[in-house]
Symmetry: C2
Subunit: 332 residues, 2 copies
């Protein structure tokens, strides 16, 4: 009987980087399928910022945390290698919440076949959580209109880069905020953003004022940090702020303060937090709406592929350091 490796969550994260002490790498026998089950050999695994929340004990969150001793939660793509399930055959390429594991058993719940002709990197970088998140956030809550100004933080990230390109495709002025010059060049030169701010080296308020002469109508928040207050100060009347991520604060010992609320009134702002699990039933239609943007070449992406299951652990730290170049994917 052959063996496989999986990674269980062993402890809750503390402020600071993610370490291997939080996980337990386990080797076990590849299980046999029972009736109604399917065995999947995972080939590509997605890493997403939301995982930091899934690891945390906070019971207030929108999905239950991963239990200690359970396999770490993640979505992925794999190949069916054995099946006693009527809906899946050996050789099918499938996606679902497989977790940090080389093999997994499934009863088919939440498992779907992936279309032919689309490679794994595109599937995980665009037609997955990033695409759904960008579509729902921007169109569900942002009400973007041609000629308006959109600012996106985490703009070189998997969600931010899509949001900005969708905004450009719809005729908005789009400014992105990222953490190094290479990312800033990429979003402007390759993705077509109108401008970029390096929050680590630019004078944020000055650069933002230069790049948003007509103020800001929509802010798509992926990070928190100093950019938040600077953008808040430049919001136009009836501005919309979509709060999608706060990666700068997820493992901070003391989360940073938010802006004072007087401008909420003076500018009649709407600040809206959202997460995709509230909108699972909309995923097919959101991906359908996204498809023409991708097919027409208006939306580009890049993926940052790590090799091997255990690379996932330190890979999570790339969300904090900003060291990744595109959507984080683990190839198994």
């Amino acid at each position: 009987m052959s063996q496989y490796t999986k990674i269980n969550l062993a402890a809750r994260p503390e402020p600071g980087p993610i370490t291997s002490a939080l996980f337990e790498v386990v080797t076990d026998d590849v299980p046999a399928v029972g009736s109604g089950q399917v065995l999947i050999k995972q080939t590509y695994m997605s890493l997403d910022p939301a995982m930091i929340g899934w690891m945390s004990p906070d019971t207030d969150s929108y999905v239950p945390p991963v239990g200690l001793g359970e396999v770490m939660r993640s979505s992925g793509i794999g190949e069916v290698v054995d099946s006693q399930h009527p809906g899946f055959e050996v050789g099918d390429r499938v996606r679902g919440m497989m977790g940090w594991t080389e093999y997994c058993l499934s009863d088919g719940e939440g498992l779907s076949k992936v279309p032919e002709g689309v490679d794994e990197e595109t599937l995980l970088s665009v037609f997955a959580l990033p695409g759904v998140t960008a579509m729902k956030g921007l169109y569900g809550f942002g009400d973007p209109k041609a000629g308006e100004t959109l600012v996106v933080s985490g703009a070189a990230g998997s969600v931010g880069s899509l949001v900005g390109q969708l905004g450009k495709a719809d005729g908005l002025r789009v400014i992105g905020v990222a953490g190094d010059d290479e990312k800033c060049s990429w979003i402007v030169d390759e993705l077509g953003f109108d401008g970029a701010i390096n929050y680590k080296s630019d004078d944020i308020a000055t650069k933002l004022a230069e790049l948003t002469p007509d103020g800001i109508d929509i802010y798509f928040e992926n990070t928190g940090g100093a950019i938040q207050q600077a953008v808040f100060d430049r919001m136009n009347a009836h501005g919309r702020i979509i709060v999608c991520g706060m990666i700068a604060d997820y493992t901070a010992a003391e989360p940073s303060a938010g802006p004072n609320w007087i401008p909420m009134i003076k500018k009649r702002l709407t600040v809206r937090g959202f997460t995709v699990p509230d909108h699972y039933d909309e995923i097919p239609s959101l991906l359908e709406q996204l498809t023409p943007y991708v097919m027409s070449g208006k939306v580009k992406y890049r993926s940052h592929v790590l090799e091997g299951l255990e690379s996932a652990i330190d890979g999570l730290n790339l969300f904090f350091t900003g060291g990744n170049r595109g959507k984080l994917i683990v190839k198994l």
Copy 2:
């Protein structure tokens, strides 16, 4: 020719109390009406927290500031004492933006006759800015549902007391926050709130937890201050926060920080700032919806009447000290 008194804005407010140095009390001849004009002798004048904003130079605000040397802006009720306007006759009781003045000329723009049989205090305390603000805020943005928990700050104020009573009439659990024990008793014993917090003497977080065992679904923010963070920490998933006033910060040298935004995501909160001027066209329908609540006795109010035009100046400070007992009105 007889004379009258008016009060012009002479300087912009600084942090701290409102003083008479900000105003100029002017005596002038009562003007003669020209063609198409109406002369009004004002009898009751409304004082509202929004006035602090109108005095400030901030050009970002939702209505232009009062110009220096111009009569201070306010709404009021008066009697037509001379008319060359086809729509108004001598003796008509009218309301409109009359300003801090004993007499004013109007071309009829924004002037309306008030219904018979409703006294001035009710008109200014309920069927005016407070009623419109409470209705639009709670129903336009709060989506209240029976069984939910609503927390109102500034709960003994003209807007807050209406919001809380509307919530009770609709079957919500309603907790009010006020600044002294008399106000707390009033909103519970007289208005029927389910509980009250004295933010000056209670341990806010502890008391709030006791009074909101099922968390908070709607927060109607009139004040800012320490209660804001405490309520934010207890918001339920899909909670709604309506930001109507931030009186605690309006003249602060350094506005206080707001809550960190991580819970915006985890709880999928919506925070919405609003002001009535965006919704002028809805005022008739909002007042119409409010009327049955008042007529059925479900909504009570009290007014705090100051005497004489110049009492308005120091009267504004009651918004900061919380010294008023009900809707502030100046009787001329």
